[in-house]
Symmetry: C2
Subunit: 126 residues, 2 copies
């Protein structure tokens, strides 16, 4: 089993470099991308590379944490994204095949919100 | 190094059972909890257990995916939460100490949103 950790490192570095041919090598032909927040799904390497290539190009990504489970061939990443003037977090879950290519990508883009009242006695803001 | 994977499994099962004494055993005394979306931080086991115990009790959790990196003692989980009538995803990153207790918990609660226009040619909705 080729290590999915390295594939995911390449996935992010190639995305940041807009090196879409290298990016494509990280993906299995029938990769499935899902965004649970919008319930959007993209099927197949060609469509998924195109989705990334066509995405408005105002973003930069740096990987903050990468968690790789060699036993199950699962990886999770937490990245910092600068999108235009906005700083965001993105969390992504990956699965891989025996060749170390990515078979599923599940992306979350959590947005900032104001906390509910009633827990100020336990919490500080940063 | 005690396996953080098992500790995190206990963390979620004890939370779901409202078994706060077992939940407390999963945490180091100086655990730090952070919610980047609200920029809230809670310091210490006592305050963090109390935060969970006092949280309005209308939620149920099931672990959908757990990714454990034995080498770095990092764990990431993706859980399905039912909060009142709402179904949500939560993503959490954990770090641990040498005794297998949790030292940091970083929680994300991504909310549903409508996708931007312009990518319908690549995307299906589910």
């Amino acid at each position: 089993m080729t290590e999915l950790r390295r594939t995911v490192e390449t996935y992010w570095s190639a995305a940041e470099a807009r090196d879409w041919s290298t990016f494509a090598t990280t993906l299995s032909d029938d990769v499935v991308y899902e965004l649970p927040q919008t319930r959007e799904r993209i099927r197949g390497k060609d469509a998924y590379v195109r989705f990334n290539r066509e995405y408005p190009d105002t973003w930069h990504i740096s990987v903050h944490r990468l968690v790789a489970d060699a036993g199950s061939d699962h990886v999770a990443t937490w990245v910092h994204a600068v999108v235009g003037l906005e700083e965001m977090h993105a969390v992504t879950f990956f699965t891989g095949d025996d060749a170390g290519r990515i078979t599923t990508v599940t992306d979350f883009w959590p947005e900032a919100y104001e906390p509910p009242p009633g827990r100020e006695h336990l919490v500080e803001r940063y």
